[in-house]
Amino acid sequence: MFGNLKGLLMTFKTTLRKPVTAQYPKERLPIEPRRMGFPMLMWDKNVGEPYCTACMVCIRECPTQCMSANMKDNPLQAEGKSARRKIVESFEINIGRCILCGICVDVCNFDAIEMSYETELSTFVRNGRRMDLRELLERGTGWQEQSGWKPKKERQPAKRGPEAEAKVEEPT
């Protein structure tokens, strides 16, 4: 009897507390800066082209093979505006397959891909959810503004962390 009462006393005490639940679609939890949502592509504002050169490294390293890309010669380089010789022509991510692991962000040498804060998957499309280059860049530009993202070169050198310590070698 006593043990039961002890438990009931506990529940009674809790009724006087503020609830901790967030009413999901109306209220959202605060977004952590490191939150990993779906990947998206970054837009180089200085040049006016994507960072991505379609080098295929992330595509090879993705554990679920959910990405594909095509490369083309960069027209802006011919005009002398850009240092990138090649540029992405098309890029597609099958969001339904992506497991939000962040490996693509780790392996990209061009700061071209980042994880957005977007994690909501449901759509009216039945057959998978694919994002093409236009959509990926659109999301990327929005996120860049939202999070104040800077490419690695322009960031303050981190005091610690893999960027500072690890000697990055070209993947073989």
Partner: protein, 372 residues
């Protein structure tokens, strides 16, 4: 003159299928119960409904990608799983992980242990018919998940521990967050304890049910809290310390009777010990790098290792064979839940059918790990 109406009747055992969609099987697990009236005569466990072929898949993935598969083995203690695979690869490559990384790994793993045990606490309450505990345990678990999100970017499936260290250092405000989190957890665990542990109804359902002696538990290959509930002081963190576990002062909680209540209470006590470890680790944590200097693509030399670690559910072992390429040649996992599950038919013998759920729940299985 009275006659027995059943005289001459041919009574048979009754066969009941429990699962795979039964809510108390914690995943997709099927038990075929053979009943004689209310008593369980025999139980046949059927596994494999969640088989994803992780071991085979690992052979086709690079070492960095295998970590994502290990995240999904025991999907409520992701950090512990990542750690054991990284430890295996590091041993093969003879890498020394920086101290700071080891401390952060220990902190995250212990927090994950608490989160996992809280989930067990809540669902075990549900199994025995109490709905309130899961609300309390998830309130506390959510705080831990929020911290994980701040550290790794994901609430589950973090992919944060890397071969040779960690993906990133912890965020700047980690220490403040931990200072806030630890007292909350301590209080939360006490509240959980008070809520359920000594309730007479709960005691009646769990005390003395499905007892297993220490010798039998060892003979069935049980590990983790389920083994310690029988009074065996066996914990990989103590008997074979890995990372920096040998620097902390903590106790191994153990039960005395090896019944369902002991198997329920040992994890609860373990959470308090985990808090002690975290507290000490926070105090001792040095500054420094969190990643060793190494090639970005891990390519261990030819060889094989076996590494074990203490997961929330018991001793997980990874047997890793490398042929010198960038993909593992063979990855074999010794999943603790799978081995604990072996004792189920023994524990279920002569139990009442109403206790079947309570006994299964007390083993704390995670099907992602059983089926791999």
């Amino acid at each position: 003159m009275t006659t027995d109406p059943n005289e001459g009747a041919n009574t048979l055992e009754m066969m009941i299928n429990m699962g795979p969609q039964h809510p108390s099987t914690h995943g997709v697990f099927r038990m075929v119960l053979h009943l004689d009236g209310e008593r369980v005569v025999r139980v046949e466990p059927h596994i494999g409904y969640l088989h994803r072929g992780s071991e085979k898949l690992s052979e086709g993935e690079s070492y960095a990608q295998v970590i994502t598969l290990f995240d999904r083995l025991d999907y409520v203690s992701n950090f512990n799983n990542e750690l054991v695979f990284c430890m295996a690869a590091e041993k093969l490559m003879s890498i020394d992980v920086p101290e700071r990384a080891q401390y952060i790994r220990v902190i995250l793993c212990e927090l994950n242990r608490i989160a996992s045990h809280l989930l067990y606490y809540g669902t075990y309450g549900l199994d025995t018919g109490a709905i309130t505990p899961i609300l309390y345990s998830f309130r506390e678990r959510e705080r831990i998940q929020n911290l994980f999100e701040a550290v790794s970017g994901a609430r589950m499936m973090h992919n944060f521990i890397r071969i040779g260290g960690l993906k990133q250092d912890v965020p700047e405000d980690f220490r403040e967050r931990m200072d806030r989190l630890l007292p909350q957890l301590r209080q939360g665990i006490d509240e959980c304890d008070r809520l359920l542990s000594h309730s007479e109804i709960f005691l009646a359902r769990t005390r003395g049910i499905a007892r297993i002696s220490a010798e039998d538990a060892i003979r069935w290959g049980m590990t983790g809290p389920a083994l310690r509930a029988s009074g065996v002081l066996e914990d990989v963190r103590v008997t074979e310390p890995y990372q920096v576990y040998d620097r902390f002062d903590f106790d191994i909680p153990a039960g005395t009777m090896g019944d369902c209540w002991d198997r329920y209470y040992v994890p609860l006590e373990e959470m308090r010990q985990s808090l002690r470890i975290i507290q000490q680790a926070m105090e001792q944590m040095p500054d420094g790098p969190v990643m060793t200097t190494m090639r970005r693509i891990a390519r261990p030399p030819k060889g094989e290792v076996y590494v074990q670690a203490e997961n929330p559910r018991g001793a997980i072992g990874v047997y890793l064979v490398s042929d010198g390429s960038e993909k593992p040649y063979r990855v074999k996992v010794r999943p603790p839940s799978f081995c604990n599950l072996q004792a189920l038919p023994y524990l279920m013998r002569d139990a009442y059918v109403a206790d079947a759920v309570v006994i299964l729940g007390s083993l704390d299985i995670i099907l992602g790990e059983v089926d791999r």
